[in-house]
Amino acid sequence: MEAIVQQFFNVEIMAKALPLVLTGLWTTLLICIVVVPIGLVGGVLVAATSLSPRATLRRVVKLLVDLFRALPPLVLLIMVYSGLPFAGIRLTPLAAVSIAFFLNNSAYYGEIFRAGIESVPPGQWEAARSTGLSATQTFLWVVLPQGVRNVLPDLVSNTIEVVKLTSLASVVSMPEMLYSADMARSLTFNASPIVLAAAIYLALLWPAVRLVSRLEHTVSR
């Protein structure tokens, strides 16, 4: 029992590792601030093209979505980070993370937005168009807001997954929270810094997880 406290909940070591882990936390938040908005925008674009009258465009986007959903995010990240240099394209870790997660998240957010848009009755389109709004205006101001409301739990839930995904950036040596904590672990030969990072992840995401549970229960009723 004492060994467990010593090796996992060592307050002294946590205190020493705290500055490093907090620096990592900022990088984690930076990645989130970049990755979540571009994923959302990508998702809306993916969903919008699924409504396009051009069949080729629809098919190409669907193929890409299927492709990026079939590849694990870590594999996508490794391909972008270690594969592209072979083609003469050398990326910083942040750029690689942004590109890989943009591809992955747009596919997932896109599916959610599409489900939301499909849940809006067609009468809404017709009514909005008949008031003189253009197709784009109708999509942005009438259909999308209602669709988003219908799939809000899924959007929050997916955003939690995206935040958790940022920990993968440690694999391409991006000094985010997990990377920093693991570095502290290898310097101190003690797992307490990782426990500290885990506690910070929980503090960040637990409220969101509770929120999703509540949203899911309200919507299903």
Binding site: A3, I4, Q7, F8, D66, L67, R69, A70, L71, P72, P73, L74, V75, I78, M79, S82, G83, F86, A87, I160, E161, K164, L165, T166, S167, L168, S170, V171, L178, D182, R185, F189, N190, A191, I194, V195, A197, A198, Y201, L202, L204, L205, W206, A208, V209, R210, S213, E216, H217, S220
Partner: protein
Amino acid sequence: MEHFLDTFFKPAILASTWPAIAKGMLVTIEIAILVVITGLALGLVLAVLRTLRYRLLDILIILFVDFFRALPPLVAVLLIYFGLPNIGINLPSFAVLWLVLSLVLTAFAEEIFWAGILSVRKGQWEAARSTGLGAGQTLAFVVLPQAIRLAVPPLTNRTIAIIKNTALGTVIGVPEIINNATTAVSFLGNATPLMMGALAYLILFTPIIAFGAWIERRFAWRRS
């Protein structure tokens, strides 16, 4: 163009590396099957335990579920793989990955099964009990079959997302697809194995994702 093909699709490397990639696929499939079995079974057990409505047990299960929904799996993988040896427990990397992904799937599956059980109407319980079935029989033969059917579409998608996390095994040296591919890349100085690894994932997961979409359509149609 020739240079491009030589870097990303070199025939000689395709021929020499495919056994390693195929072995990686087998490891990925093994872990995925084990995770699906243990994760879904444990998730169902926890959901059934919640029907007993013991307050303390409920709270513990909710805490467990929230914990694994909020924690990035890679954090748990590193914590267990590098932490446990310090207190004298040495688990092979394969077991660590299996354990972590099973717990993550357990958490999500419990949530989905429980939502399914809750959405079975109270009248079903009462009607079944009034025909003389015991509480356990009612649960097993009346409530769970309906609950599980409701749970199948969301559960399929979540399970697919979680078994894609088998790729995390590469961080602790599980010889699965991407681990074998990156090892070959650094050994050969050529990107061909990486493309083969990606292709291997597409071969494994494209049918599974199509199956998930089919399940979703089919069950949605039945309900309406």
